[in-house]
């Protein structure tokens, strides 16, 4: 080597000095390769470093300016958001994440197809359609995704559409989970307080019979508090179930008259027709006619109902 190591060291020191006003991280990055570079240049055997590269101060100026850093003595430019983003992008973990993300893109395309199918189903109804719709939508989404990768123009449009789809999906999800029990969503709504539950499920209608097995109509029921016994609409039933209450003379609906008049839409016809619910088939028990055993004395009489007078509920013996 014709150029002594000292010349390299001296050049290096002067460059470092000219970069002294920079933050240590920036300066170290710039100096990182410099020493090996100087060694290679020195090995060219082409004259001194200064004649080959120019004065160290000039080298330092050119180095920092082409690296996008402020010039010596100049005011530090306000780090704009793009610059700061660039700095963050340099962090090793961030770089790892950023380099991995593109691999997820095809997964997003698939998910997007499924989301669109689900959105259509929740708008139009027919949960069973979600699978065939998804089978149609996913390849479409993947195809569009690959096209938007190739053509940069469609990329921005695709981003807008993606944001729209996600927003719609979130909104639909919120709407479903907050739906009132009267609507049927994908999950059956739990009925509110006071819902009667029988052994086979929630009670939505009551069919009273007389002792002799005659079905009764317009029977008014009250509980031990004197409150009318009301039933909730069927949370598992088809949407569009209609309940028809009888009306009192003062105009209010009588909700505790049983059996209640209920009808559900029959979707097998076009247009759907409301079909009145028919009573279930029951076999009323036959009452025993043996000597009545002395019953435990009833401590209180049936409570006085709040509304209109009730006809006697004691069946007359036949």
């Amino acid at each position: 080597m014709t150029t002594p190591v000292a010349e390299i060291a001296s050049y290096l020191d002067r460059v470092r000095a000219a970069l002294a006003d920079l933050p240590a991280a920036d300066r170290d990055e710039l100096l990182d390769d410099l020493e090996s570079h100087l060694a290679e240049v020195a090995g060219e055997d082409d004259g001194s470093l200064v004649s080959r590269l120019g004065p160290p101060e000039q080298y330092a100026d050119e180095l920092r300016s082409s690296a996008g850093l402020p010039i010596r003595g100049g005011p530090a430019p306000r780090r704009s958001v793009p610059d700061r983003l660039a700095e963050i992008r340099q962090e090793p973990q961030v770089r790892q994440i950023l380099e991995f993300l593109p691999q997820l893109r095809p997964g997003w395309w698939v998910l997007r197809g499924v989301l669109v199918a689900w959105l259509l189903v929740s708008l139009v109804g027919g949960l069973v359609l979600i699978l065939p719709l998804a089978v149609l939508a996913v390849p479409l989404s993947v195809g569009l995704g690959r096209r938007s990768q190739a053509e940069h123009r469609t990329r921005r449009a695709a981003l807008v559409v993606d944001v729209l789809i996600v927003a719609l999906a979130l909104y639909t999800l919120a709407a479903i989970t907050s739906r009132s029990p009267d609507y049927v969503g994908d999950q059956p709504a739990v009925s509110g307080t006071g819902g009667l539950v029988g052994p086979a499920g929630p009670v939505t209608n009551i069919y009273p019979y007389a002792k002799d097995g005659t079905p009764l109509r317009d029977v008014l029921l009250y509980d031990q508090f004197g409150q009318p016994v009301v039933v909730q609409p069927d949370p598992y039933g088809p949407p569009g179930t209609v309940r028809q209450f009888p009306y009192a003379a003062d105009g209010h609906a009588i909700e505790n008259a049983y059996p209640q008049d209920q009808a559900t839409p029959d979707v097998s016809t076009d247009p759907p027709v409301l079909r009145r619910q028919s009573p279930p088939s029951v076999t009323t028990p036959e009452f025993a006619t043996a000597t009545p055993t002395p019953a435990t004395a009833v401590t209180s009489a049936p409570p006085t109902p709040i509304r209109s007078p009730v006809p006697s509920a004691t069946p007359t013996p036949r």
């Binding site: 990055e29 710039l30 990182d32 390769d33 410099l34 020493e35 090996s36 570079h37 060694a39 290679e40 240049v41 590269l53 120019g54 080298y59 330092a60 100026d61 050119e62 180095l63 920092r64 300016s65 082409s66 690296a67 996008g68 660039a86 700095e87 992008r89 340099q90 770089r95 950023l98 380099e99 593109p102 940069h152």
Partner: protein, 110 residues
């Protein structure tokens, strides 16, 4: 004609093009640029440009150990860098075409 001003504008593109051909370390990239005909390109400019492209996320680096002398830090294009190369090339081609047309018109005598 003084090409240093012209070069400043397209040095990024030139460096990306060199790296697209093959990964390189700083000194190597300078040499290849000069061999391609850009003999006025400065070492410091190339190093600074490599740093800046790396900060912008267009390049990755890796170190190759060497038996004689210090380890070398190699620069390579990543996907983002390839995209940037593509875009810049398209921009350059279009610009060059425009300039060429302009110059032809200028040179034409009625």
């Amino acid at each position: 004609m003084d090409t240093t001003q012209l070069l400043k504008g397209v040095l990024d593109l030139a460096v990306l093009a060199v790296l697209a051909e093959k990964d390189g370390y700083g000194y190597d990239v300078v040499r290849r640029l000069r061999e391609a005909g850009l003999d006025e390109v400065g070492d410091a400019s190339v190093y600074g440009t490599l740093r800046r492209l790396f900060s912008a996320g267009a390049l990755t680096t890796y170190v190759v150990p060497s038996e004689e002398g210090p380890n070398r830090k190699y620069y390579a294009l990543n996907d983002r860098g390839r995209v940037q190369l593509g875009r810049s090339t398209a921009g350059w081609t279009s610009f060059a075409r425009t300039m060429n047309q302009l110059l032809r018109v200028e040179g034409e005598v009625a």
